[in-house]
C-alpha cells in the first residue's frame, strides 16, 4: 500500500486504476497463454476437486483452482483448504454414470 492509496481511501476516492489494470491483465493473459477454453478449465477443475476429495475432505466453498501467470510461465494454482484427512480413500466413482463430487460423510 502506498501513501497515495491511503489518501485515496481517506478521501473516499476510488483506488488508482493502474493496480486494477495489472490484475485484469494478469487474469486475461493467463487464459490467453494457456489456450484452455473455459469449459475445459471448468471440467478439469471439477475432476481435480473430485480426486482430491477422495483422499481428504476439502472446503468446496473456499476451494479455488485458477490460472496464474508470471514471467511468461502459466501455472495452474489450486488452493484447497483441507478440513480433515479421510482414514481410507473413497472408492473411484464409476466413469459411466456422471456423478457429482462426493459429499463429505
Amino acid at each position: 500500500m502506498t501513501l497515495l492509496d491511503i489518501i485515496n481511501k481517506l478521501l473516499g476516492r476510488q483506488p488508482a486504476s493502474a493496480d486494477t489494470a495489472r490484475q485484469r491483465l494478469q487474469l486475461v493473459l493467463a487464459h490467453d497463454r494457456s489456450d484452455l477454453n473455459p469449459e475445459l478449465l471448468e471440467q478439469m477443475r471439477r475432476e481435480i476437486l473430485e480426486v482430491v476429495s477422495r483422499y481428504v475432505e476439502i472446503d468446496l466453498e473456499e476451494g479455488d483452482v485458477s490460472l496464474e501467470t508470471e514471467d511468461r510461465v502459466t501455472a495452474l494454482v489450486a488452493n484447497l483448504p483441507i478440513k480433515r484427512a479421510r482414514p481410507t480413500p473413497l472408492p473411484v466413482p464409476e466413469r459411466d454414470e456422471p456423478e457429482p463430487a462426493p459429499t463429505p460423510a
Partner: protein
C-alpha cells in the same frame, strides 16, 4: 529493386521500400519476404520491417524474414494483451532477441498511478526495454507536415528517444529516462513520495 527503393532526400544511405497496394500484397508470401530481405541485405546494414497491427498474413510475412524483433506497445490493457500474443508467436518462431519499446507514456498519469508502471509492463511481457517514448504532440505535428521528427530540429522528447533507440540498437549504452522524473520539479517529487510503498 533499385527502381522500387525510394531514397531519402536528406539521408543518402536511408531508403524506403513501399509495401505496394493491398491487392498486390495478396500474392506476397513469407518466402518472397525472405528473398527480398536477402537482396536488401547485400546493400544495407539494417533492414527494418514495419509490421501491420494484428497477427494476420501481414504479420506472418513480416516475421518470416526477421532475425530479431522490436515489439512496440502502449501501457494500456488491450495493447499489452495484443503485444503478448505477438510475443507468443515470435517466441514460437524462435525469433530472438525480442525487445520492447513502450510508446505514448504519460508521466503525469504514471505519477498518479493511473497508468500501468513501466516495470509492470516489462515484468508481464518479460522483455528488456529498448525504449521509452513519452506522449508527444510533436509526433502529430511532424506527421501533419510530413517531416521526420528526428530531423526537424525540435529536439522534442519523442525525437530524442527515437534517436536513443537507434543508438541502443547499434550497441551504444544510452540510459533510459525515468518517466516519474520526467515532469521535474516539486510535482514529480511529491508523486514519487506518494508512490513509496509503506506496507
Amino acid at each position: 529493386m533499385e527502381q522500387a527503393l525510394v531514397k531519402h532526400k536528406q539521408v543518402p544511405n536511408l531508403a524506403l521500400l513501399p509495401a505496394g497496394n493491398p491487392r498486390m500484397l495478396e500474392w506476397l508470401k513469407p518466402d518472397d519476404m525472405i528473398k527480398i530481405a536477402k537482396l536488401l541485405g547485400d546493400q544495407f546494414e539494417y533492414i527494418l520491417i514495419d509490421c501491420p497491427a494484428g497477427i494476420e498474413d501481414g504479420f506472418k510475412n513480416a516475421m518470416a524474414a526477421a532475425e530479431e524483433a522490436i515489439v512496440v506497445t502502449t501501457p494500456e490493457v488491450s495493447a499489452v494483451r495484443d503485444a503478448d500474443r505477438v510475443i507468443g508467436l515470435l517466441n514460437a518462431h524462435g525469433i530472438k532477441p525480442i525487445q520492447l519499446v513502450l510508446n505514448r507514456v504519460r508521466p503525469k498519469m504514471m505519477l498518479n498511478n493511473e497508468m500501468l508502471p513501466v516495470s509492470d509492463v516489462t515484468d508481464i511481457l518479460a522483455l528488456p526495454l529498448l525504449g521509452l517514448v513519452l506522449e508527444d504532440e510533436q509526433v502529430i505535428i511532424s506527421t501533419n507536415r510530413g517531416e521526420p521528427l528526428t530531423l526537424n530540429g525540435t529536439r522534442s522528447p519523442a525525437a530524442v528517444e527515437y534517436n536513443n533507440v537507434a543508438r541502443r540498437l547499434t550497441g551504444e549504452e544510452v540510459p533510459l529516462i525515468d518517466p516519474l522524473k520526467a515532469g521535474g520539479g516539486i510535482r514529480s517529487k511529491l508523486g514519487r513520495l506518494l508512490q513509496t510503498k509503506i506496507f
